[in-house]
Subunit: 103 residues, 2 copies
């Protein structure tokens, strides 16, 4: 695999694609590619680790229990451990590429 965030995007994406770029004792960096995908209805992520996540291509709507964030390229947010969140929408027009740092 090339070491480029924007490379190796499959032409068809039946499900979100998760690719680990770094796995270290206290940190994991991964790319997430969505293409019109959203979190299944009624499901909330509730992770034991905190996550810093940035959108680098495309567009998404990220929901928390008390607010909704519209995200465009360059937008980032920190999601503390155990804070419930879900992806409500990603644009169907192009792949949305996220970079997530779990720590």
């Amino acid at each position: 695999m090339s070491n480029n965030l924007f490379a190796d995007l499959p032409p068809d994406l039946p499900a979100e694609l998760f690719t680990a770029f770094l796995e270290a004792p206290h940190v994991r960096i991964e790319r997430i590619v969505s293409h019109g995908h959203s979190t299944p209805a009624g499901f909330w992520y509730e992770q034991k680790q905190s996550e810093w996540v940035i959108v680098l291509q495309g567009a998404a709507r990220l929901a928390f229990e008390d607010r909704v964030m519209e995200m465009r390229s360059g937008d980032f947010v920190t999601i503390p451990a155990l804070v419930r969140h879900r992806v409500e929408w990603t644009t169907p027009d192009e792949p949305t590429i996220w970079l997530a740092v779990h720590y």
Copy 2:
């Protein structure tokens, strides 16, 4: 400050600009903006922490003692702790934006 990687770029950049986006016990995420800057001649970074770094705009040439990497948008590399490296060149045509995860 807005929470966008591509925002808040100063029109003039007399020196490289470092902006911390996250400081946690085992990880620090920062943006580095270069505009034609390079590491001073003869100086090598030799960091106690490891660093995962990606170029997200612009272009750069990153030198290690045994190789040189040309980096374009999306290219990333892991620099283990204590591995000497320096930035030999960044494009003068536009700001080069790096995202670095120190861990």
